[in-house]
Subunit: 462 residues, 4 copies
């Protein structure tokens, strides 16, 4: 009914039921209750400090808001869909508790700056949590890398065996990606932590506000400079979701690899029982569902980003109701990224790696063909001919289903007379790995150095 | 606990709690309960017809399934999150009701073909509903166009006044867009209505099934041809969401126009009280929130499409758990499109149009400048010079804040001596509108013809 | 210079150079030259038939347009960037050739309906070509399937071995996807083939046009009903790009599989030399670059769809210059899809499949574990216990790196006394394959039936 | 022919022509020629410093590379499509110039680290340019704001008149958005400026490289830590395109507003002749094409981001050929953002604003209704009743097509007896604007303060 609406006075007709249903947000924005209450308390105190309301009024409001929060957290609070959103639900209950003074809370404030405030507080808290999750995962990867600096596996390009790399080096590649994610999240946070409180509907107010002091109380790093921008800006949500997109893309790559490695043709890894699922029909099954879902959910986080960007394209200033639609994509992103990081932290340490299978695949992939060519080149054969000779050796071994090191010395000599008995040292993949000593390369020292550097960063930053 | 899992026998460790949380779908896929039960009943009957289970067993299963459905619809059903998904929840309760025979329902079936079946039944039902909603909206637009075939408004290109068009013609433009949407939905439906039941896990079964008869019972138009495709195909979901994207894009355009027209600078339209919202602070406000939200939600439907396409890119055959992520984007799309169509049907008839404001804007936009140029050209002036002369007349009138028809005959003559007194008939926008008689143009007959043709289509198809 | 512009008369200042650069489209829309000329010829003839221009004028225009086309195709035509777009370039040259009558071509037409016409003719031609490409690829898949109806490979779900399938069945899964793509393209075509010619700028014209006859001459299936819709509709471009998205998603899945299969751990397939690339450093390399690029380009086609949808969101009627941006996404899509289909048609027949490697992987994957469980269940063991027994057998064989069929009869009996000597027939994967006779399943008859049905469709439709 | 390929030795068949066409990148990656040559020079010098090649060899290579660059820039260079990409084209010509020593350039390098290096150098240069463009635009907005701190315009929410704001405040809102863009670009740059040179194919090399010194020479801020990450990371491209997405979204909002304001119903602004386009048919037209195209191209930048994210989803390590597809989306983004910023800088100063039209619209929008309500509340009326009274006054004035200030004192008194003669000061929009003195609000001092702060930032940072 129109009577219910605070703004209904001039309207002859009640709001249509379908409109109430279509516009209602309390089903999802109640998630912001804690931030809404926090923000209101800071606003009440600021009003009192500025003499706009009395000190005892601010105290009554703060106490009332604390009670509302307690009711919500105990489950006693009754959410009323007809009150549209989280803000109206809380304010209505507050007024029941504290009486008419409840109405003073909205002085010099509008839902436009209020909802922007709530989202900024919420996104900031979530980004903090994401950063923690990212660091925990980096720590797990570093831990996993230890002792695996000489575990040879086939390094792939084009998904074809290319050169031997260590499992440690491979795992640490992900740590560096996640470290970048963490940096991005940290920089986004600074832009999130700018208080919009005091922008009011769009133009500021005629009251003598002190937005700085409210912002400080709420832990913000700064305060809005332009009220139109303050109420219409959703860059901070979009940037947060973008950070999540890149982080999920990294997780999706790792998941893809675990799925591949768990296939028996690879057989590089076995998922712990607690993280695999079976089949009610097929007794042999150990499915990597968690990895598949994480890969799939990456797509949904992408979709959220696309939604947000399309949302703000071409929107005139200042607030438009379209902006209400920033919430569900952000919440969905958070519901995907945070548990994905947590479950990775839990799952990775339980992975059982099979170095023998990795070594066999490395042999099978003729990863030492480059070594053979280099060996011949070092003995004076032009590299192009050395490349051809190594290619012929690969063809011979491949025909027999063997590795290069399984060929006889005489067979190798027949391909190229420059070969000597020391060739077999060169063909050892472990040796090949150890020789790759260039900075940032796959050599064992490099992996150890990377691990140290990452731990330093975790220690410094954590 | 592993003991709870049907497939747990070979697993030494229980499934981790985090894995259960991460993989669970019952929170959203319970929405498919009716389709799941429908599909199971058809499967049970088919098994009996083929002699795979006994007739009385099928009857027991069907009765049990009917009871499960009744329990769900009465609210008596207890959804158990630890049972993962809608299928297991229903099957577990069925087995409680009917005893061990419940286990026979899963004969020659797998969750892979079962979930594909459920989604196909569900999507088909929703597409049917969308088609109804689209048609209802076309009917409303046709109705609105009636009597407005000569209501002049400024036809815009580049958002600049271009030529006069009738409000009827403008409204009917949307009807043709929605008719295309309806056709697309109808064609997508044929591809949705292909039963995957009988594909089993991925390879068909060793049982002598009759997928055709089950498909017929479920109202499908066809049956899968290849079991691998049947369990891994989500094209039908993606195509449905794409249909929704285009339909929402059309609604977003109409919403954008209503938002513009409701701004007092335009003042072409007034929203009914029941469909506008006010402000608790600003007494003059009548906000078009419904239109803004619909425009914003269009972005979210787009995001859903992007998610689905990214989801299936590069997925190897056959079923992968990533595919579970098709549901939430589809449900979100449905939750947006269906109410958007419904609320438009409800809202549009209540719009109050202001022909005077439209006419004034048409004058202000010098929409008759082309008519003046044509008039001069018809009197023998080369068109280029006529164009210039008309341009000068516009400049003169604009300088005074007047329309072209407000200029004096002598003033017009001063610009071009070919002008005569009959020029004022030409400058009449209504006359200009009526002269645009080319097929599909803005002339009043054309609008009436369009309305008739659309009604024919609605009648034929409805 | 303003003087150059046809509309420049009223403008005091020249158009800025940066504006000319920013708005120019001739660099890419010249691709539409043939359609632009075709459309202009049909328009000229229609004008003559309606008595709006003289017959000899239409003939002069048509001859002039033919000459322009010849000049373009011989390379003699000089494209002039300052003339903005393909339409102005052609019209300017036409007027040089035919003199002042060239100016009459634009009677009762505007660039708004002209560009819509050109795009519709172009998109229609390309969709036709895509349909041919899709069918050619279906034909190749059918051909490849022949003789491979009993070639066992591991059917995967969750990328884990699930049940044996035939290579023929697997390949044919893609044929069905592509057939759906072809249907979608055909249905989109009907909506593309609607002529917008005669809508003029946005409102139709005062001339007595006959849009139907021009549409017929151009091979269109229908004609616009509403001029506002005709000039502002880009649904047909978006729908075409969507069809390409789904088709590319199918190709991306096949490419992903070829990339996997070509990895030596799988070793299921070898790319022909002509379709693999090597490494200048690593002699053993055979990289599947074509497949990787096709998978990657799928992402770009997706991006094009997203661009188009975001483009039209919230655009008010009628024509807005934003719509110029429909072209590059469509052209890029076409430049990806058409060659992708062609190169697949060329590459697939050259693939060398390795049935032995597939069979080995099938053994390794314990695809016969379900068969063993079914065998025990058929001998009266409750399925749950049979499932457990089969699981134990898998564990035993896995520990030794063997297949189930390598276990001794006594060993199997020790696990479950119900086992008899006939168990080994059951454990044969070929037999397992042959037993899956359900319609659409992986049995050899099903594959042969699918091939026949697809050939029928190709014959009927081609 | 296979003979042409450096890796062709082991291949019996030539590469198919279609494969060459499908995989070729030189048509677009030649854009990286300068960076490729820069990188090669640094690599050659590093090899010499490390004693891997001789000093005179490095000098010969550097001189040769300088000559290649000169040839490319003079147009003398002949790009050969059969040489696939920019790297091979340059290397082939280098070897023609310097002889066999040309082959030594590729020592301890691979195309995998080379192309990553080229892209990083290129993206870094472009981000620098974007930052300059963003700052130039901020400077223009600040300049435009000057002297307009008291120009009243209707501040809109929901596109409905809300409260009066100053034009200066409105324009400055965009400056703050662009400042954020600039910060994001600067932070992205630090992540771009990490050299991948020395990662080689994927695993580092056996040579004693000094990647740090090469990185320093190239102006990088850091060097890769993990070779697998170095060759497979495209985060930096994606992040750059994301920065462009947000920047374009801001431009699209400003463009939308200019398009609205230029419509005669608003009439707030007139585009300079040099930045508007006319119509060859409609003499009254002044179309804002630049703004429309910019809004439309925003969608294409979005599409590029979506393409890049979908591209990298689920890619296993390390280099995959899919990554070649990062280039065209980045180039297209750059071709849109850079000229968009430049043309805005050029166009905005030429906009003619119409304060009278803005003031009229502000009156029409009853922006002073809030003031009236506040006035009554200050005189003791409960706000809810004050809100109603103001609403009734709006209704009365609206009925007559007047502003609130046009009502008589007695009429206002009839609505609420608390009204006195001083009410008319309150109803003045200029006064309302001046009263909004809260920090960041629309008051004149706030705008001036914002301008100073932005200029400070520009000075400090520029």
């Amino acid at each position: 009914m129109a009577q219910k609406k605070m703004w209904g006075g001039r309207f002859a007709q009640d709001t249509a039921k379908s409109v109430e249903d279509y516009t209602r947000s309390v089903d999802f924005d109640r998630r912001l209750y804690a931030e809404d209450i926090l923000g209101s308390k800071a606003h009440a105190r600021m009003l009192a400090r500025q003499g706009i309301i009395a000190g005892h009024e601010a105290e009554a409001l703060v106490r009332g808001l604390d009670q509302v929060r307690a009711e919500i957290e105990s489950g006693a609070f009754k959410w009323r869909p007809e009150l549209e959103d989280v803000h109206m639900n809380i304010e209505a209950r507050l007024t029941e508790i504290v009486g008419p003074v409840g109405g003073k809370l909205h002085t010099a404030r509008s839902r436009n700056d209020q909802v922007a405030l709530d989202m900024r507080l919420h996104v900031a808290a979530r980004l903090d949590d994401w950063a923690r999750g990212l660091k925990a995962l980096v720590a797990v990867l570093v831990e996993l890398s230890k002792g695996r600096e000489e575990t040879v596996m086939p390094g792939l390009t084009h998904l074809q065996p290319a050169q031997p790399v260590s499992l440690a080096h491979h795992l640490l590649a992900y740590a560096w990606m996640l470290k970048r994610d963490c940096e991005r999240v940290g920089q986004a946070l600074v832009r999130v932590r700018v208080s919009p409180l005091g922008a009011a509907a769009l133009a500021g107010t005629t009251f003598d506000l002190d937005p700085e002091s409210a912002a400080r109380e709420l832990g913000f790093a700064g305060v809005f400079k332009n009220s139109l921008d303050a109420v219409s800006d959703r860059d901070f949500v979009i940037e947060a979701v973008f950070c999540a997109c890149l982080a999920m893309s990294h997780l999706s790559r790792l998941c893809e690899e675990i799925v591949l490695w768990a296939n028996p043709c690879f057989g590089f890894v076995r998922l712990p029982d607690a993280f695999a699922t079976g089949s009610s029909i097929m007794p042999q099954k150990r499915n990597p569902d968690v990895c598949e879902l994480m890969r799939g959910r990456t797509a949904r986080v992408y979709g959220g980003l696309m939604a947000l960007l399309a949302l703000v394209k071409g929107l005139p200033l200042a607030y438009n109701r379209d902006l209400q639609e920033d919430k569900e994509p952000f919440f969905a992103t958070d519901d995907i990224l945070a548990p994905s990081l947590a479950i990775m932290v839990e799952m990775l340490p339980g992975l059982e790696f099979f170095p023998r299978a990795m070594a066999r695949a490395a042999e099978q992939g003729y990863l030492n063909a480059t070594e053979l060519a280099d060996y011949l080149a070092a003995r004076g054969l032009p590299f192009r001919e050395a490349h051809h000779a190594a290619g012929r050796a690969v063809a011979l071994a491949e025909g027999r289903g063997q590795g290069l090191a399984d060929l006889g010395l005489d067979e190798l000599k027949a391909i190229c007379p420059l070969v000597e008995g020391d060739v077999f040292e060169v063909l050892s993949l472990s040796a090949a790995l150890r020789r790759r000593t260039s900075p940032g390369g796959t050599g064992p020292d490099s992996a150890a150095r990377q691990a140290r550097e990452l731990l330093d960063w975790l220690g410094r930053d954590g």
